[in-house]
Point group: C2
Chain length 189, copies 2
DNA sequence: CATCCTATGAGACGAGTTGACTCATAGGCG
DNA sequence: CGCCTATGAGTCAACTCGTCTCATAGGATG
């Protein structure tokens, strides 16, 4: 692996990642192989091999370029924050690239250890952020949880995720409201 | 395409489908190609081509051999039926093959029209069965829906689906109970 | 500007895969 | 028994894959 600061190296790296992401979105994960990526990136095939000897890690890193900044920086009241975050997530899941990344993550993780590591990290981050915010809401008296905290992420995100990846329809606000209500009882002050 | 009744034809067909399913479970959808399927099925490579000129349809049909009989034959009371069906579904989603089929369906459908057709059919069947049962429960007075019927399948199945495919954990009964409770208010008679 | 370093592009290469084809064989039918 | 046809084995050209070589040029250093 060459120097990390060489502008030529960084330029190639960015072009390759960009091309790999485009190919993932257009033709699926199976299309992210060295030759098509090189051609689209306007880069020699050997260069792609030098950067990523195996295409699995290229796919993982290309997927990481799709931003998925969910549930960062909780605000108060938690209920409004959840509504905003879930609405944003539903909007993101309507975009082809986010949907492609989410389903590729879930599917490829079953057989590829690198993707599995990313899935675990992604799931862990979402779960931690949600449970931390809900714990805080509970301590502040805004919420009385009716379900264990470990179930909260699945209860909130699951319906949107199913709606997007299985039903291929946009989530409507009612789905979000009922998921939030299912967490427990909220004070309305 | 040869005769549909020839025992030799049917034998080859079954062996190929069986091998394709095994390969899908062990190595993922990308591994379902003619040569490995033929070898594992103990069948000539040309025979696989004769049955399925393109591997996409082979993958679709191989996935169809994994039974997913969810929400068939509603019984009364609907709440107990839902609990049973969702528990069965959660149990199924813990099995590798069902998880593999579900995520492969969601992912491959984004780029393959045949898989997309199966996804739409699958989502439609689940949604119809769930809404029909809930409509009936509502007419009988067992349930007052708090959400539109079109959201019911996502609200019920989504959390289990997320728990299985993203969090890779078994669903616990609390997740199922809260999803059922989120539908609306149930009479307890 | 001159010099060195090194990432790159182009291409060659063998190994393996793909999809199409041929043909003798044998399984299953009347 | 005798016909029909699905099959297995094999051939074949085209293509892909992963590796390697080498001349070139982009960029740091003086």
């Amino acid at each position: 692996m060459p120097a990390e600061t060489d502008p030529r190296f960084l330029r190639s790296r960015e072009a390759i990642l960009h091309a790999a992401r485009e190919l993932l979105l257009e033709k699926g994960p199976a299309a992210v192989t060295h030759a098509p990526v090189a051609e689209r990136a306007g880069v020699g095939r050997a260069t792609v091999y030098r950067h990523w000897p195996r295409p699995e890690l290229l796919l993982v890193e290309a997927m990481a370029t799709v931003p998925m900044p969910f549930f960062a920086e909780p605000t108060v009241p938690t209920r409004d924050w959840l509504r905003r975050e879930l609405t944003a997530m539903a909007h993101q899941l309507d975009l082809d690239d986010v949907r492609a990344v989410a389903t590729t993550l879930a599917n490829t993780a079953l057989w590829d250890e690198h993707m599995e590591a990313r899935r675990a990290q992604f799931a862990g981050v979402l779960s931690e952020r949600v449970t931390a915010a809900l714990d805080d809401a509970q301590h502040r008296g805004e919420l009385t949880l009716a379900i264990p905290g470990r179930n909260a992420a699945a209860a909130l995100i699951g319906p949107l995720y199913y709606r997007s990846t299985i039903e291929h329809s946009p989530a409507d606000p009612g789905l979000i409201e009922s998921a939030i209500a299912a967490l427990g009882s909220w004070t309305t002050d």
